[in-house]
Subunit: 353 residues, 2 copies
């Protein structure tokens, strides 16, 4: 840290991304990436942009936003795209938290919410999940502030129904509810249709998981025209050309290739269910994950221990030190082959006990 | 605007990028883009990343930063990359302005400095350039706050020497000076070597102009280890994967292809000088621009009028409404053919008078 850094950031604890070790080739099941390549159509359209990169990208990303709006059944004025959904979330924390408005989110959720709140000097109201990691809706109905709910939640994979989210939106129309749908495509239902009825809803989605574009960085915000105007005001005061040419084109290609998208996500869902059965047979318990990951524990093996034993065997999973979940590990659903390798390794670890 | 938007952003005036009209094909000389395609090597390396985009990019961009450090003659710990240099500048405004520290910059300069200052609630000290648009160094030596100087400046193209910047750095080691070198490659000298001696210097550079990668979005910050740590703390609290895979690879490719880089910038410099001569012969006056643009006026034709007449003829240049420069236009140096078209159009406009 330099002596010049603004006081407000001197105590800031930055986000720690999942490890990306280079010293050894791992089966990487720690950052919820897709095991499948981006759609050929996405690759092809992105490639066409390479020779045009001397020209700025379209700051409005009109083609991408029109297509997104059509797919989502909303207007173009209801859509904004960003450099990953982290950027959309960052804009939302800027626009709607701070001053008298705290950020409200579960004690166990995407670790970045806490960082964003701290970054923008917003108070945090962290509401504990129930013992079984489900959200107690009543807590959120009563809490004052802007609500951030990952739905399905990470790392638990548990989700609220659209009806429950609607109940929350209706309970207090005077505050924003942000529903972070990073994992919604793996079998859950989206809250996007609710934006037509609720002016206090912002939904964020990402191309990183179900669309295999984590490395291209593309996120989406969907909300009322007014909320999108707010977010655009911040975007145009931060980085108007926030989405580059290749990524915008890859997004278009991915949206055009519905068949591949469906095939990939169906494979991941099927593979998740297969892996869950195998792990249950080995004595693991887990949440009913709706994401592209499983959140598992074993009563005979500590969470940290399991993480380390898997790492020894060349498999990376995500372990969180946080007290309530430190006996768990979050395991990304990879390819069938990767899951077989995982199951084999877990079998060995369990049998050693 | 929604009723939810935080009070602090309700009066915010966002940045307005140069127009990108779609209704007609223009000779586009309004956003200082390069007329040359990105290096083949850049395109090739970016293309290789397309099929790997299901995996997150390296948040540290190690390969790119190492190569940059080597090229710049600094350590890897002295370098950070961002989603365009706008992102680096945004981080710098966050880290070093606000509270008791105003942002100090010229009245005529890159229009985004004002927006960044407003976005982060920093006071602004806008110091008037001299009548001839040069920077009066004494003003800056005495001013309190974090200094932002585009060098060469935009839209004037005028620049301070490294010796003058050093004088400024030495005058007050207790505050940060940010030197924005977006246009430095078109014939000016870089202040990067000064970071070894001055812990209060941050230099920003971009791949958008001289490296033909505006549409890929890649910017660089170069400073002491401590300043880079500050900026990384903000980056890791905002968007750790801020640079996508294709763009990081394109950056590497561009740096490896020195020959193409030199050839392109030399052509632009030569073309700038040729165009300047042609325009002078037509009665235009101009600053001694060191950028990839000319900043010109004609005593018989108003700035706004010239802009409109060129637009009618299918040529887009940049006109600023700001009082002190409203008789000028900023004209990007494009390809020889584009410059011939420009000169021909200007000749017609001048002859009509």
């Amino acid at each position: 840290m330099s002596k010049f850094l603004s006081k407000k950031y001197q105590g800031l604890q930055a986000y720690v991304p999942g490890e990306q070790p280079k010293e050894r080739k791992y089966v990487k099941l720690n950052t919820n990436e897709s095991p499948f390549q981006p759609s050929k159509k996405a690759q092809e359209l992105a490639k066409e942009q390479l020779q045009k990169c001397m020209l700025y990208s379209d700051p409005d990303c009109k083609e991408l936003c029109s297509l997104l709006a059509k797919k989502l059944g909303v207007g173009t004025e209801n859509v904004i795209v960003g450099n990953g959904s982290d950027e959309i979330l960052n804009f939302a924390f800027m626009a709607y938290c701070g001053g008298e408005t705290p950020a409200v989110f579960p004690d166990i959720t995407y670790g970045f919410y806490k960082v964003f709140a701290d970054l923008h000097g917003a108070k945090k109201t962290e509401l504990p999940l129930r013992e079984d990691f489900t959200v107690n809706l009543e807590d959120y109905k009563q809490a004052k502030g802007t609500v951030f709910l990952a739905n399905p939640n990470a790392p638990t994979g548990l989700a609220l129904s659209v009806a429950e989210v609607e109940e929350l939106l209706a309970a207090d129309s005077g505050r924003i509810v942000v529903i972070d749908e990073a994992y919604v495509d793996f079998g859950w239902e989206s809250c996007v249709p609710l934006i037509q009825k609720y002016g206090n809803l912002l939904v964020s989605q990402t191309f990183s998981k179900s669309r295999s574009l984590a490395g291209a960085r593309l996120g989406v915000g969907i909300a009322s025209r007014e909320i999108i105007e707010d977010l655009n005001r911040i975007k145009y005061s931060t980085n108007p050309y926030n989405v580059n040419r290749m990524t915008a084109a890859a997004g278009v290609g991915s949206l055009l290739d519905t068949e591949y998208f469906e095939a990939c996500r169906n494979k991941i869902i099927a593979n998740r269910e297969w892996t869950a059965e195998q792990l249950k047979a080995l004595g693991f318990t887990m949440t009913e994950s709706q994401g592209n990951f499983l959140f598992v524990r074993h009563e005979k093996i500590g969470g940290q221990e399991l993480y380390l034993k898997l790492k020894e065997k060349g498999i990376l999973v995500r372990h969180f030190a946080q007290e309530r979940i430190c006996e768990y590990n979050r395991i990304t659903v990879g390819s069938p082959k990767e899951m077989e390798t995982l199951v084999k390794a877990l079998k060995e670890i369990v049998c050693e006990r």
